[in-house]
Subunit: 510 residues, 2 copies
């Protein structure tokens, strides 16, 4: 079966103008009623001035996108292996240290994070628990040469990954539209009972955070325990976070505070036992002890200055359980993904003992190459600078999140303007070839119909303890999914960045 056949169907159905209007109106009303929204941009497009009392429908697809059922289930099933893998990488200081040593000379951000680890280590860590909240992102790979579609990992996010609080509602919306017959009849041949699986991302992410909070244990300090979200000063995607916060409060009955990264030092302090104590600005006389620090900021170098570096160090020194710790943050850099995914790499087996599990995880890797002076790196450099070969690749810096990648034919010219000494800061990855399909994206009240590409994210939560013998995993769960869909005219897919939209899967057999 060739790639093209999967999506050459009558799905989604063509809409009359009346149907378009009805669906758009229904989606607007449903999403706002259910908080499936994003803060508005201000008139000049900046998030900075946006009105906090207003919001609007998040960019979203009218229809759930067809997704091969096998691929979806495989992505869910291997998530607990990914969880263990990255918990293990983050706890293997020796191995991770070697990776960092290669990058530190050319990447001051990585160097500085490692420095925090060394500082805290010298003093002695007072918390041996870590919590990982991961989102492993995939695309369906279905080139014409391949008989069946497979999933290939785009990247794994270990830090601040968004939309776990909104994703379940996209499924609820699409189910609702189907159940009220808002779609033309022909959609029913694709959307059938069971083809829109439930998405438990909010409840499972919350269950992971709640387990972390509980594992912190009671404190002799007598201060009430709380959970702190480290947030950006301005956050358009605040309602995604808010759904998680409200659910987490319901689950734990512990206060969940939003603390801007830039204000950590003003409102927290460490006691003599390095407990992290927080006093809310509105109630400076109250003191809470922080069990869990959940970063929804601090991922990107441009968020750091002298104050926030000190804040990061301060949090890392504390007894609070971090999501992520500095070591886990380092484990999330592309370089680690590349080392694991380079063809014939022996490293995966170091972290995943079970051979079958290794194979399944490895099967999700797209080939990746370093850009350093190793043998693999020389191969990578050769391919990246060859205009013909480069067309099959994407060049990625160490940063997570969209907006920084260089695609295909643009790679050789881009590298000409980067000093060769900086090349090891990039990794080269074979492009994944997703099957095209159509959908209609509703964004800012406008409907755009056309070819789209879907990216599946699978959430994982893992709570583990570092021991002298390695790691002891206390809780390890797959935690639902995210589907983001973008126009096939765009290479980037970030919803917040304005390119993508939220979607849900409609499972199909291929």
């Amino acid at each position: 079966m060739a790639a093209t056949s999967l999506y050459q169907s009558s799905y989604p159905p063509q809409l009359t103008p009346e149907q378009q209007e009805y669906l758009a109106t229904t989606v607007h009303e449903w999403t706002i009623t259910n908080g499936l929204v994003v803060r508005l941009r201000s008139a000049n497009g900046a998030a900075e001035d946006s009105e906090t009392s207003h919001a609007g429908t998040i960019p979203i697809t009218l229809f759930p996108s067809r997704f091969p059922a096998d691929c979806f289930l495989e992505a869910l099933e291997i998530q607990t292996a990914y969880n263990r893998l990255y918990a293990a990488v983050a706890s293997d200081e020796e191995w991770l240290g070697r990776v960092v040593q290669e990058l530190a000379p050319i990447d001051s951000f990585i160097a500085k994070l490692w420095e925090i680890h060394e500082t805290v280590k010298a003093e002695g860590y007072v918390q041996d628990l870590s919590f990982g909240l991961f989102r492993s992102d995939y695309m369906v790979h279905y080139p014409e040469t391949q008989e069946r579609p497979t999933i290939k990992q785009v990247e794994i996010n270990v830090n601040s990954a968004a939309f776990g609080g909104l994703a379940p509602q996209v499924t609820s919306l699409h189910r609702y539209l189907n159940s009220v017959n808002a779609y033309p009849e022909s959609a029913s041949s694709t959307i059938r009972a069971g083809s829109l699986p439930p998405n438990p991302s909010t409840e499972r992410i919350v269950a992971g955070l709640a387990a972390t909070h509980a594992a912190y244990g009671p404190s002799p300090s007598n201060h009430p325990l709380c959970i702190v979200l480290i947030v950006q000063d301005i956050e358009r995607n605040v309602f995604d976070q808010k759904h998680l916060e409200l659910s987490l409060f319901s689950e734990t009955k512990a206060n969940v505070f939003r603390l801007p990264f830039t204000q950590v030092l003003q409102h927290t302090r460490l006691d003599t036992e390095r407990r992290l104590l927080y006093s809310p600005p509105a109630f400076p006389d109250r003191i809470y002890e922080v069990s869990t620090v959940y970063f929804r900021a601090g991922q990107s170098p441009d968020e750091y200055n002298e104050v926030t570096w000190e804040a990061r160090t301060h949090l890392e020194r504390s007894r609070a359980i971090k999501c992520p710790s500095v070591l886990l943050h380092l484990a999330g850099f592309k370089k680690v993904q590349q080392i694991l995914a380079t063809p014939d790499s022996p490293h995966l087996a170091r972290f995943l003992a079970a051979e079958r599990e290794c194979e399944r995880v490895r099967a999700t890797f797209a080939p990746m190459y370093p850009m350093d002076m190793s043998l693999d790196g020389l191969k990578g450099r050769e391919m990246a600078t060859n205009p013909e070969i480069a067309k099959r690749f994407v060049l990625k810096p160490q940063r997570e999140a969209g907006g920084n990648n260089i695609y295909r034919g643009a790679i050789p010219a881009f590298l000409q303007n980067v000093p060769e000494s900086q090349w090891p800061g990039y990794v080269l990855m074979e492009m994944i070839e997703p099957p095209a399909q159509r959908n209609a994206i509703l964004r800012d009240g406008e409907l755009q119909s056309g070819g789209v590409i879907c990216e599946l994210g699978v959430w994982g939560t893992v709570l583990w303890r570092r021991t002298d013998q390695g790691i002891e995993v206390l809780k390890n769960d797959e935690a639902g999914y995210l589907l983001r869909t973008k126009s096939d005219q765009s290479e980037e897919g970030g919803v917040a960045a304005g390119f993508g939209s939220l979607d849900s899967v409609c499972l199909v057999d291929v």
Copy 2:
């Protein structure tokens, strides 16, 4: 105990600027996450251009307002009596006809509604079930001359009363703020366990509509049954309706369609059995049979023209159960309230058999007088035109909803400009003297603190059958409450009209 003592307390507590900001931010985020919102006005203030993909926090109080527990419970408890009362009035065609005869010559709206009734009656009604969804609005009356506070009815709404879909969430919000300690400690002496009673308005209103839908019974037509909301072309308060719609769909699994009043004739027709058949504009080939017509439009004369009068007649002729029927709509006019509430009126006993029930209902009436040439009317005219006496009164036209009342000292001058022949279209009501208290209202991102006045609405649902012997009540329930709070600087309280705000009760013993 004098009136002033009830609210001369430290509640709500004074807020620091940091506490104000924290509370406002938390309220904005919580309300938008939970759909406690209203469609925005356009930049020029008109609802007409408002962006359907956007919304904002509905005007709302930061704190629940103190409300005497006795008064609250009394208002809830007598609602089922009010339900029966208005069901009986609407079914007593002879009595209602006499009232209408008095008003028809000076009120063409009332005359026209009655004409619809007569037209349909001549043809023969094909539906003997009626559904009433009422909201009886009260204020606490607590003049210095009175030892204890009592409740007095402001008006009863039988048509399109709003906010039943949002009210429960105001309680949820205030409970949330209290449970996360967002209020200063001193609030805890007022807000205690049990002082914020749950508000089941959404679920009970939906239960009433669902029972009505079920009572319609299966149809031999083989078309799927649906429920239709008759709506205005532009509706800022659409999310209130949407919460009801979504819940009603969950409950009944029947489609709930929004149909603009102006488009009723385009998209519905009657079959030979006068079943009301609806075809959605997006799917003109589909045919649904309408079990229940729930009016959220058509209350006010300015919504009527040739087309909508015909639509109202068309709906009244149909077999669908109307909420409200034309007769019930007529029963909701102020004149009926006035007749029942005029001191020493014998009419109440005609409709409520139980003496104790009569007494309790009568105790909620503020004295009202007609403005016609009857003995009571002459008394009313005398008081209304006397500048000193008029100060204790409000002059109301037959219309429900705010914006049309004339207050106190303004009454005599107003009447000078109204031909005496029109005076019978008004009723004169003694002003209720509510105890003042303070609160902070968040509206469009601005916080206004100061004296406020609260109005309690109690929802009631009643499903009944007209029989030759009178009425058979099939379901009769009190259905939660609404608290609206306005600045004591304003005489009008409509939230949608921009004067009031949503609130919840914090019960106190007086």
